[in-house]
Symmetry: D2
Subunit: 339 residues, 4 copies
Amino acid sequence: MIIILDAEASDAQIEAVQSKLSSMGMETHISKGIQRTVIGAIGDERKLDKEALEVLPMVDQVIRVMKPYKIVARESHHADTVIDISGVPLGGNQVQVIGGPCSVETQEQMDHSAADVAAAGCRLMRGGAFKPRTSPYSFQGVGVKGLEMFRQAANRHNLPIVTELMDVRMLDTFLEHKVDVIQIGTRNMQNFDLLKEVGRQCQTPVILKRGMSATISEWLMSAEYIAAGGNHNIIFCERGVRSFETAYRNMLDVTAIAMLKKETHLPVIVDPSHAGGKAWMVPALARSALAAGADGLLIESHPRPAEAWCDADQALSAEQLKGLMDELRGIARVLGRDL
Amino acid sequence: MIIILDAEASDAQIEAVQSKLSSMGMETHISKGIQRTVIGAIGDERKLDKEALEVLPMVDQVIRVMKPYKIVARESHHADTVIDISGVPLGGNQVQVIGGPCSVETQEQMDHSAADVAAAGCRLMRGGAFKPRTSPYSFQGVGVKGLEMFRQAANRHNLPIVTELMDVRMLDTFLEHKVDVIQIGTRNMQNFDLLKEVGRQCQTPVILKRGMSATISEWLMSAEYIAAGGNHNIIFCERGVRSFETAYRNMLDVTAIAMLKKETHLPVIVDPSHAGGKAWMVPALARSALAAGADGLLIESHPRPAEAWCDADQALSAEQLKGLMDELRGIARVLGRDL
Amino acid sequence: MIIILDAEASDAQIEAVQSKLSSMGMETHISKGIQRTVIGAIGDERKLDKEALEVLPMVDQVIRVMKPYKIVARESHHADTVIDISGVPLGGNQVQVIGGPCSVETQEQMDHSAADVAAAGCRLMRGGAFKPRTSPYSFQGVGVKGLEMFRQAANRHNLPIVTELMDVRMLDTFLEHKVDVIQIGTRNMQNFDLLKEVGRQCQTPVILKRGMSATISEWLMSAEYIAAGGNHNIIFCERGVRSFETAYRNMLDVTAIAMLKKETHLPVIVDPSHAGGKAWMVPALARSALAAGADGLLIESHPRPAEAWCDADQALSAEQLKGLMDELRGIARVLGRDL
Amino acid sequence: MIIILDAEASDAQIEAVQSKLSSMGMETHISKGIQRTVIGAIGDERKLDKEALEVLPMVDQVIRVMKPYKIVARESHHADTVIDISGVPLGGNQVQVIGGPCSVETQEQMDHSAADVAAAGCRLMRGGAFKPRTSPYSFQGVGVKGLEMFRQAANRHNLPIVTELMDVRMLDTFLEHKVDVIQIGTRNMQNFDLLKEVGRQCQTPVILKRGMSATISEWLMSAEYIAAGGNHNIIFCERGVRSFETAYRNMLDVTAIAMLKKETHLPVIVDPSHAGGKAWMVPALARSALAAGADGLLIESHPRPAEAWCDADQALSAEQLKGLMDELRGIARVLGRDL
């Protein structure tokens, strides 16, 4: 940790900072310049609060030198981690596409969806039984019976299932239904009690979506919450962030993909459907994400998009999904990857 | 609802949109221009999904005419709502300042804090027993025993207590401890299950903080979740939003205060401490919020700020709090309000 | 244009709006609902100020139905426009990569750069003689003599040159030096006098970079300024926008590429070097932009990146540029394009 | 300057960084930790490019210790600067309100406006002869003859005039018309050639508006461009920044007021009219800005707001302006200031 003090700091004030640092178990080194005094502090700064130092008189800036995250950091584990999702690997050379509808509606719709997803060549399936909706008056998902419909439809095609957990009280039910991947949605990225339970109570792989305007560092720290509980099977999912632009829903942050691949050993996937919010944009965004280095994609598809119960305007038809898979395969090959 | 179709929409495509609207229970009127066709749809649009219309061929834009929120809207209740917090009114002519520490630490610290808060003239007290922290390695709050310490310290000065609920499983405990105001934090503004329970299970006043980058409309919709469950005792709390600026922590959005006072009949308070993130900024931001029309303020204070267990650099000392109260009283008087 | 009035609007107030619209040359149609009255107005709304209507009593919202831009809109010209840059086509099936240093430094550096750029297979070259720098104390570019060095180095390899114009008083000098493409930088996207002159005084192709936080609509309107003057040779360049993220310099907005390709017939290129701000990110961002549909790329390269006089950390070496070109060629092929 | 190197940096790599720093005229000190090596560099870092260091192998972070601005910094001039605007002081204890229309329209409108502004108690007047408009098809201002109308109207009431300069070629005309304050608009905050000329060619006070999404540091640097040319009569004007919120036009950043008052000795004013974009919000925002510490306000007023040629929906009527002045006077008094 580096502490920068104002030029006018007195010797007593400088000593006060040093003694605070010592009480925190840090060793200190001082360099005095004409304009500023700089204190370098060595020790495990992860447990320190910057604020406790910033409050001291004449302290201008406190700068962390170490990353605040540990288990998820590439510094602590150089090789890429491959996560085993009920037999399907995610994070290695093979790119995975997770297809399926926004929400579980009926058994017939799920059966149809599963067949389409498998036919397109996807090896995992998505679908929401519980839906986080901005309005309390919108459709909130079919609930637990949706998990059953999903399970049944997916099993026929050997597709591991990905579904969103919103309420910590539902975790047991998810585990009973042997959900293969628990998705933590954007709005729950900093629902710390939910993260803790998912970390403590299971080894089920978790897709952790980025918060609406979460920094990459906050996102890594949320993953660290899960990892600290014991579950290291974490997959990051970029889904666009909030911006000033109103021409589309979210701004897909492809730079975050490159940055995450550098900072963490864990897999990174992208949800181009929620990012753009329109089906016509999905192919361009999906290709773009893959080319930027994503390890997988989460793509909404529906047997009859116009009749979907939610987000109707962003789902691909079976045919569109298939066409996109072909394009993606071509790009994967250029990058030396399989799909 | 207004649906704008492309100039090239055929008669059949226009009819398809009309028939979809009819099936949703809406009446339609058409105006055909040279460049666009416009369909006006009349009926209760709150239950409609825009997306189901946007997906139809040749539909360019779908525009809501009605507000998506209802119970919390000023349209449905013209007069300002005054909320009774265990005898202290919030939302009327009298401005309320809620003082106290970021987190409950010890009985001694809470006793000291409560005395300071009361002495400064505040009529409500804040303090967190459960803390949402970005890092799993930071202090997470003292937990349930913190509620007890808080209760005991506050009772001596007749101060109703405000404290944050993060985990839905803790709601019963909060109700048993007769928490006077439940605070829903920034990171939980769209934790819909938490909102639903707080709405359904109690009539305890709720302070609903704005999400890190929530739009005013989303924030009102989150309040609508609580209200729809039956609890109408909701207080909005602006606490700064995320921006590109790095010179301070959050950007305090004073325009939101004016906008909310127009859109809702419910009280609006402001947290200048979390907005700026530095104690030296708090007086300027507190005055600014009050002058913009806030009904109350949530201000961090601590007997010994430099020793606070969290956010040490943003708490005011007892003396600073008292000085600020005097300034605020002057501004309240100019605005024709009491404090 | 659609005008939405409050439910409580009186007949006289509704008539006032209609008469204002008539005086603006618009025809009106009214639909009265229980909650709102909606007026549809037909005519050329491009010349109308929304504000003049929004100020009228009881007007809730004024919504444009037509796009505010015209010459640059795809609505007015369906086919993709191919711009001829001194013999090199931009905007058609062939993807163009524009390589070269951030700034012109010396004749030797430019000769070396030009040779590297040509050897890598790029058909256009970039380099700044005038540099927009945040600090007045930073290197401001070598000025007019830089244009000469650039011209001389590029001519040897038949590379048309791209260089930034910051000061309207320099336009004649640019035209005398036969600059092949005039670049308008981020900070000048809404320097309207500069746009007008570039539109009125020449037919030289213009690369119009997106403003730091410009919406796509504002960007299209800035292009319309140039086009309205008579110069239709406009190329959009996405270069990342300002965001809350601090882990990298700008957020590359790939969704904007897809959106622009839909809204305008003009070519769209991307500058991955300024977006990420670090050389190691450039390949991922360049691939990503191309996969999203970009017609070209603007990539910084330097014979000795570590010694560059500005933005040293974002330039590729000759070797890196060559390697990237190979990857890009593979992706172009998957998309059915040449490079 | 502080340079943080990766733990894996070799001795040769550390020496390379040191020798680069020496060649830049900096003295260095090294601290080696287990996780990182930190180099402190002492000397005048204002002229250094961070990028030239960031590009070196194993360099993780380069952190400036000194502020990049100098003349405008409070560090270099502790007392508040009072600027003399043709006899009216700005920046001291007295708060100044600058009233007047968005744009100059007719002599009659300006005469009327000037009378209203003076009657309300304002001591300075605003009005635009040249208007920066997003669309080339919108009213662009009446031009030079507007300066004459403005001059004539204002002189009758002894009001110094404030008007926007967009085109560097117009500076001489502004000086001939003895414009009392030159306004540099939002879109030109980083039009560096314009800033340089305004700094070099005159001592006329300059109102420098904040760019749409400029950081406070960039804004200070733009002022430094003017100051470096020799003109130190600079007034900062906060006018709201771009954000994700769509309920109003710009987000007024009151925290920036407090921050600027700390960082610079120059006066800071606020434009609440452009921030909110609606007349009904102006009083709340004006009060809020004053309470946050602004030295002045720039408020749009018009004899007949509904007929204004631009921004009709944000101008106050004469009566509203007068009412607001009374409220502001009350707040100023609480803060110990005059108005």
